[in-house]
Subunit: 339 residues, 4 copies
């Protein structure tokens, strides 16, 4: 019997070599680390995994590596948002063969597409897919999958087993719980918005795809565990504590760079993402990295401690440097005076 | 000692006579009914009160009537969003004289205004207002009051005692709780989004300005009471139950018409709002009214039961009518046959 | 016989005294100066006139002053966008009595309102207004008046005699010309977007409400005159030349402050607008003022020349100051050396 | 010597077989037809060519076919917007080898990316591309390439030879002409908005990528020819005449389906696009197809005449059918009467 999708799934960043090839060794090491830290499952090819910036072959390869490394230890939800329905189905077949639990598919991106067309698209997918499908709602970046469409798909398509909602829209999530669950009690409602994981769980959500769980899996899994055990006070404390970490990673700009850096600070050679960063942004980014290192160090993650210290001493040095360097000036003046 | 603003405040709709004058009698009767039903306080001149469609004199008059009717039984938060700072301050003085607990002021509307300008605006208000101020964040309709601005105002301006956030943005509300409360433990964080009242309360919010509490105050106050008493299961049941009522009132279109109709169904002669409705919209609206009546009847509000029954029998009649009127056809055919 | 509305109408800024009262003297002097410079007509209570930040009485007063000063020399289009239909009609009656040519009315602002409701609203206005009406489309700030609505209103309502479109949407303006003119050849299509005045005229538009004509009426009227006389090359030269002035005024932020400053630089005591500006913005603003002064001086407007010179010398002084002040350092060092 | 890019470039739709393979035969026939009709050049892999819905290999293949069919008769601007910079450069190399005149590259899509990052991205491209680059600004679907970035790129990167602006923002296009041309007189400013082709040409634009020229190349090329020959009146007549055709094709929904249907009506077997359409949309679409056929027939395109006639007679039949079928009713009634 296939069980409902529940818990915390980690949307992994992809580590790259300098020549832009996927760093398979680090990806494997990272994934096994995540499993050791207790995450419920993995979620490759999400937005955090920058699926949109990889080639089709790279997206398949990411899931191959992860499936091979995981070897059934935890379920995999594999992103299969491809440019057209033929390629989505091709990805579905591959991911089914690799033993993934389900695929996740966004609404079409780039062009604006009508709700009718989106519904028709998912019906066609559901009719032909050899693997369960999660609707992936992320209206910031692709066409919204409206709640009315979700309801009709949930009612009619057994292949569609849930929604991962990254819209950051809690009122909509409440309506989803209220209107879809009665139609399909097995329909999984996952949140893709780190800041509201706990309120979503408390209202009856089934879990989330939480990028922060790729950086501080200990904290996110503890929050989830405390929630499951009814220790709401401690779960709340952790949720609020996480907010600053989350905000800092988003403040890095150029999502998902802040999250990649968080993973790096936990000891993985993540390399650089496919979207180049300007030197000026790189500078801002390094300051964020320092701040993040100190946040992680404060949380007790030893890997980040050295980096934090380094950051603090550099800042001190910079502050000192900006104080007029009297010695140098004196030397210069004396030189002029004696010239 | 002045206490922190907490609980459920009802943003009242304004009943009108046919000639567009405020229906003072019904407004008084409505307000006293709300108090009898246990709402924490009143919130005139909010968006639900269509402050933007009233004249300055009407806005003042609404608060005068309510203050006179309330006579200190519950606190009043009075909307004082006026076209310019002189008029806001004039309203502040009037509402202070009337004994209101605080005023609520939106960011400037119509023009786009910078965050710096908004901060400067509220600082100027805070420096001169004789009454406490709530920031009213409603970016759908007026310039957003950014969280950074809120933090600086909270830190520097004792006159600014809280925020009423109607942005429907729960992640932002979480950040507000996390970043403002440590600076100002007395700073009140109220939500203005009915759908997420309970999650907000559970995460530490201080209450809300909840338009639905103007229609079914019994249910909203019971939710709040159950929350305060730790009966989360029942509070959740009520929150979810309310979602359909809320959705129906929004589905009426032309906010706040659905809420006005809800109040009407509870037995008040609300009249029609200042924004005219087209005949076609009126028709759609009547269907919504019927549905709302039945929802309220199901919840046990007897006033709505007759209306619901009427609605159901009309629908039946309409359905019947659309069945080909055999008698008429027979008559016609016979006429032709015998012609 | 009433003639079609055509030409360049100036949306005037309102000069204020320090105590926020309207500076009647300067307003009169400014209006007469505009007429002397040849503008086709005046357009008080537009967005440039910050109608939204004035009280109802102030809006009426602005038109009274202008009507009295103009004394029929040029036509007046008076903004009558008020919070509700009763107040719009009250303004219509007043402006009709003052001899205005027409009123201009935006779609409702603040709340989102359906197209049906907007159509119904303008039909109700058209049925009761004693004065011709221009639709004022400015979707940046108020509900859009969709083209389908414009077409039906133009076809059915003789009182509605034109549209002033500030949407900055040239494709829509093209469609308006193409679809409305055949229904109502007398329907006036005015543009409210300075940057595309000439293309609009060349495609058959009837003119514009051009805020820039309140700052450099000579240039805008010359552009219009050159266009009317078929000297497109010179009209183009002026249009392009104006772009930098326009951009500079918008770059001041807090619209319409840049335009107010432009009028000030032409020699009018405009005072400060009702929306306060933060000290930091004021600083940015002063730099913009300097740049604008130099642009105007280059165009030959002598009033701005002194200001430009002042600006340039200040900048020079600032640049000089930022060069390390070697003398001061030497003095300091010598003092230390000899200490 | 390489000449500046000027004139009308046709963004072709891609014809497909029923099994979703590219219909090479029809693509060749279509392209040669366009050349015969006099279009300046071709623009494969634009939004009209649905580049986003093809695989990388298909995008390359489309240009291979077209380059082979064109054989240097007209210049080709080939869309090279790929998921990451390595793939863009790979496409650039292929298209350079195929003899294309230039490539066109959008800002990154899906994720929001900062202006700094966009600038850095295009600088990196320009440094390594073996072929000239056109910036493709289409903020509806991908990150806007801000004017400040365009200016810096134009000033510094000889490889970047122009912009194709599909933003529908004429004020911005005016500023582009005004601010970029003085820096780089050879910089080509093309419009990608059919409705404003003529105003853009009159103000100094270099031409456009005009999807409508793929449907009625005769009309668009005549407009351009009349403009070049100073017959503005006739050019205006054509521009306005085209507006209804354009609007009808957009009204089909699911861009670029309306344009695909237009090409089909001109006698090409375009097949169906990669994005499936719901049955309900298909119905709406067929009505649009009929309307479009009649518009084209009125313009004298004989291929569309039969389709138009068919459409008109079907509509008549439908209208007839909706009239109560008296005979059937009589039969039924008589049956009942005699039962």
């Amino acid at each position: 019997m296939i069980t409902k999708i529940q818990g915390i799934f980690t949307p992994n960043v992809v580590p790259f070599h300098q020549d832009h090839r996927i760093n398979e060794g680090e990806l494997r090491r990272y994934v096994s680390w995540l499993i050791a830290k207790g995450v419920t499952g993995l979620y490759p090819n999400g937005s955090t995994g920058e699926f949109i910036r990889l080639s089709f072959e790279q997206r398949i390869r990411v899931v191959e590596i992860i499936a091979d490394e995981v070897r059934g230890r935890v379920p995999i939800l594999a992103g299969a948002a491809e440019p057209n329905i033929d390629l989505v189905l091709e990805a579905c077949r591959r991911f089914a063969d690799l033993g993934c639990r389900a695929v996740s598919v966004t609404g079409p991106y780039y062009f604006k597409v009508s709700q009718q067309s989106i519904e028709h698209y998912f019906r066609a997918l559901a009719a032909q897919s050899p693997i369960d499908i999660l609707l992936y709602n992320i209206p910031q970046f692709s066409n919204e999958i409206g709640l009315e469409v979700v309801k009709r798909l949930a009612a009619d398509c057994p292949r569609i087993v849930g929604i991962k909602d990254s819209s950051r829209d809690m009122p909509r999530f409440m309506d989803t719980l209220n209107e879809v669950k009665p139609l399909r009690p097995d329909f999984s409602c996952l949140i893709g918005c780190e800041e509201i994981l706990l309120p979503v769980l408390m209202m009856g959500g089934d879990g989330g795809t939480i990028a922060t769980s790729g950086v501080v899996p200990e904290a996110v899994m503890k929050l989830y565990d405390r929630f499951l055990n009814g220790d709401i006070a401690e779960a709340k404390r952790i949720q609020f504590k996480l907010l600053e970490v989350i905000k800092t990673m988003f403040a890095a700009g150029n999502f998902p760079e802040g999250f990649r850096e968080g993973v790096n600070l936990r000891g993985f050679d993540t390399g650089r993402g496919p979207q180049p960063m300007s030197p000026h942004e790189r500078e801002h980014f390094n300051a964020i990295r320092g701040k993040l290192a100190c946040l992680l160090a404060e949380c007790g993650y030893a890997e980040a401690a050295r980096e934090c210290e380094l950051f603090r001493s550099t800042r001190l040095a910079e502050t000192r440097m900006s104080v007029p360097d009297v010695d140098a000036i004196v030397a210069e003046v004396l030189k002029r005076l004696t010239a």
